[in-house]
Point group: C2
């Protein structure tokens, strides 16, 4: 499963994050981008990231709710969660790697070797710190809700003091960041082009099912426009 | 964003993986399962896992192609990839955490605090070792292709000696494994039930788009049944 020459039209290598040792790949440099708009679009489209940290010398990777606000990522947790506790105990914070991935299609080549998937991913390296400022924390909680459904934070009850205290938010600045993208169809070797196998791309699609009202929803409360328009 | 009392009908806490320190959560124990059939179904449905390892003391998380064969996971890479190189250099192998996550729905509560997503995830802790046995490696490469589309390995050209040499496969046994599942609708606090916000679940759907034949596909090669039936 190998590289493809295609690069996406949305990706521009200019004016983006500065590459570092952590964000310079050993392979597939033609698939690696540092463009901020591309990184933001990949981050904003996913519902969870994969948060990696080191505990007792071993790696831990956990799916985690998050939201991006400008060049800062907020990571959601409870005050009892391990990563959140560790970030609070460590000075200046917890070294993390946060990865977000979309799978866009199945790439079926004639050769087993050139099979692949199309994907868009972002990898962020940095140090996550616990949010102490109550205003930024409240705003971060709003951003989690609006990240799931834009417009929803204004149409729900805001966190109260007890809920704020029970929630831990980690902040991670977008500094060491790279995106990787594979797009396009299969890329068979010339000597395989005569083989009789069907070859091409199977796009993967995502969508929303019909909303399921909660059992406790009172009659007469209609579904709001921001949900109808999803 | 908090726990829900619902547990899925497919999950049985019996006869599964033995919990260890790494796979016993500090929170949400009612969402944690060790059932093999549930773990297998979550692993088999995803296209990539998130592979975590430690490099120079810092976490790295990379989206990685994989396949499950029985109680063993194969992780795909090239011989130049960092994780693969590190696994080959280390004895007995590379400590890893492999995580697979599906997001099934958006949970919209009346309170910001009880917003959540429905998900199914698997976390595997273990030591990944490089596959040396050529027969197992060839079989693992077939399993990657069949993991993407069942039946495809038999309808493509198998890897040749050069391609086998350029591919590195890590093996990870399923021993320290747990699944986490959140299902069902929102779970608002009793004192919020009178609030006027719409509340419920937005299911997320996944599907396949129409196959896109490669430009180089010869006329007369029809799409095979295993793709038509996706």
């Amino acid at each position: 499963m190998t590289a493809s020459p295609e690069t996406p039209a949305t990706a521009s290598p200019d004016a983006g994050y500065a590459p570092t040792e952590h964000t310079t790949p050993t392979r597939y440099r033609d698939r690696t981008f540092y463009d901020r708009a591309l990184v933001h679009s990949i981050l904003d489209e996913a519902y969870v990231c994969h948060l990696g940290f080191v505990r007792d010398g071993r790696p831990v990777v956990l799916p985690t709710l998050y939201a991006r606000v400008g060049e800062r990522l907020y990571l959601h947790g409870s005050t009892g969660a391990r990563a959140q506790r560790m970030a609070g105990e460590k000075d200046p914070g917890l070294p993390v790697c946060v990865t977000v991935t979309h799978i866009d299609g199945l790439v079926l080549a004639r050769s087993s070797f050139h099979h692949s998937v199309n994907y868009r991913s972002v990898v962020i390296h940095g140090t996550a710190v616990q949010l102490d400022d109550p205003d930024e924390k409240q705003a971060a909680l709003d951003s989690f809700v609006d990240h799931v459904v834009p417009g929803r934070a204004a149409d729900s009850r805001r966190a109260n003091a007890k809920e704020l205290a029970a929630t831990s938010v980690l902040a991670l600045d977008l500094e060491e960041v790279s995106a990787r993208v594979r797009a396009g169809g299969p890329d068979d070797d010339p000597e395989d082009l005569h083989l009789p196998h069907w070859t091409g791309l199977i796009p993967l699609t995502k969508g929303y099912g019909a909303p399921v009202p909660a059992d406790t929803l009172a009659p007469g409360i209609e579904i709001p426009d921001y949900l109808r328009d999803l």
